[in-house]
Amino acid sequence: MSDVQPPQPPATVTLTVDGKSVTVPKGTNVLEAAKQVGVDISAFCYHPGLSIAACCRQCLVSIEKAPKLAPSCQTTAGDGMVVHTTDPQSTAARKQMLEFTLVNHPIDCPICDKAGECTLQKLYFENDNANSRVDVPKVHKPKVVDLGPHVVLDAERCILCTRCIRVCDEVAGEHQLEMSHRGAHEELGTAPGARLDNPYSINTVDVCPVGALTAKDFRFTMRAWELEATPSVCNGCATGCNTEIHHRNGRAWRLVPRHNPDVNQYWMCDEGRFTYHELREDRLAVPTSGGLPASWDRALAAAAQQLQAALKTPAQVGVVLSAQASNEENFALAKLAAAWKVPNVFVASRAPVPDRADDILRDADVDPNRHGVAAIAPGALGMAELEAAINTGAIRALVVLGHDLPLSETGQGRLREIDALVVLAWREIGPARAATIALPIAAWAERSGTITNRQGRVQRQHAALPPPGQAVAGWEALVRLAGATGAKLSWTHVRDVHKDMVAAVKAFEGSTWARDVRPIQLRFANSRG
């Protein structure tokens, strides 16, 4: 809703919000219209990606000629409408609603994980800041309720906005949460016989405007205000959900979805959120030569020696691109293969997982960049051909990008018999263990690069974290390897790789390299609720 179509004369309405005139498409609600002129009407139950419940009454505004205050989320903007948000009547109404919401709220901000990104906290500081006038005991409700595999509920903190229920119903398509009881005793819980176990369950935590729902994965690890956010794209599957990496001190603490109306709306799946864990698992931090740690110089010299013997007959040499690596890394390796005149170019890709596919976001294709690598190396051979080439012994030297080389057991055994197996990987598993030379490269959260999702969108992943140890970006490792073998790749920055790639590959036509972003300090950002 926030990115509105270009206005067409018959389909727009013009209204006035706090004296500012705004023209919006017909059907836009008053709250979104106000947002366009910088009037922020914060609310609990309204979420632009969900249906409208209008149950929190926190967005009440005065509309001239209307008999009483109207919830701006539910009121469609009309032509000539005059809306006031700062008049005494609506200001008082919102203040009273806030006080009402706070009656039974435990106000345990110090131990609440939402503190710092909580809508209730933000509105309290902005609007009210008054002491409680209620001196009867608060209604107590269950705490630390295990709703499902990933989410914990604190029913006392819940302000009954029903956003989470609507996320389950409308996004995940499964009715797993429900309200029960009435009045002050109204309480969120799972629907009878259900658990909050849909693959999109942590979106309920994102939309929760207070700390009622918390993710087990993130809970109690970091305070929101300590984190920095860097935009990225999920590396979990071909959908390419836009994400933010929340990190601190060079370590990622969570992934949250970033709004993109054309890809993932406001959502992402739970599995995608957990992909940041692998950034700290089995990392290859220093080059290895023959399985032992080596300096870059020694590893490169050894690689050059092994490769140059094989490169005398390029038909015996193979190059394996990766459907998990960025376009730039793959392009650099394809360029190196061309410089070496190596005819055998393969693409390593994982087998699709049909079970995980749905028509929401999750794709059966668990490779984030299958489409990009297909555009860069259209004639590249697949895993079956690679397996066959290794098993027949036709390949004597192999340069592999990435740690994911799903070969059969025979193939993995034969891989160890190859004379020169140079692997550029960020995890020391699979081929990186079998390698004669392994070169450490930066993972997807540590380097800038683009990946192409299933729609063919080229999306940018920004570098959020420093690579561990001596790891460098994949393209840079390839430039070093090229230099050691006497081939010439003369890039000095990943944007140069991107530029050459756009010029060389038609599928990337028109793609431009955006500047690196500085991480946003969540301490200074508005509430995310």
Binding site: P110, V144, R223
Partner: protein, 205 residues
């Protein structure tokens, strides 16, 4: 400067011989000083006078007894000076009624700390009313600038700096890091009401 200084003008007849007087400020004068030759000077009298003062204090202190002597020197470290009540010293962590740590790992103190000397790793407790506690709570007393902001920020009277003790000298830097156990050892049960006083706080005067 003031009245006293102006009294002292050049009408004085005693004193050294005045060679010239500044035309702008009559108090600035060039004078002639007569000093005895080195072989004629003797400091014996002055030395004896000074020793006399020392001896007078010595006998006073010895004869008047421990409680009434004038000795200002404190025999540190056997004896220590009492610091003011609000002196900020080593940190300590306060206890709940059951002896557990009061801290709920809210991260307010590491957030406000200008020296980044507090490290907290939160974890979950079995107590559903508390939920959160610090699995690790460490303060690097070498980094601490003793500003007391952590105490100000603490919402539950968990951290205090009222031990009245300095950071101790250490041989290794890591010895200056106070662990949770060390901080708790200095701590005591807090008299603040656990979980706040609730809605009735206004009635208390």
């Amino acid at each position: 400067m003031g009245a006293h200084a102006t009294d002292h003008d050049d009408s004085e007849t005693d004193g050294p011989k005045v060679l010239s007087v500044s035309p702008r400020n009559p108090r600035v004068r060039t004078i002639q000083i007569h000093r005895p030759a080195p072989q004629d000077a003797s400091f014996l009298a002055a030395t004896a006078k000074g020793l006399g003062v020392t001896l007078r204090h010595f006998f006073k202190n010895v004869l008047r007894g421990k409680d009434h002597n004038y000795i200002e020197t404190v025999e540190y470290p056997e004896k220590k000076v009492d610091y003011p009540e609000r002196f900020r010293g080593l940190h300590r962590l306060m206890h709940r009624d059951d002896g557990a740590v009061r801290c709920v790992a809210c991260m307010c103190c590491p957030t406000v700390c200008p020296a980044h000397c507090i490290t907290i790793v939160p974890a979950q407790t079995d107590d559903k009313g508390i939920e959160k506690f610090p699995a690790v709570f460490e303060i690097d007393e070498l980094r601490c600038v003793v500003c007391g902001l952590c105490v100000e920020a603490c919402p539950c009277d968990a951290i205090r700096m009222d031990t009245g003790e300095h950071a101790k000298p250490v041989e290794e830097r890591h010895d200056a890091v106070m662990t949770k156990d060390a901080l708790l050892e200095l701590g005591a049960r807090s008299t603040a009401v656990q979980g706040g006083e609730g809605a009735a706080w206004r009635e208390r005067k």
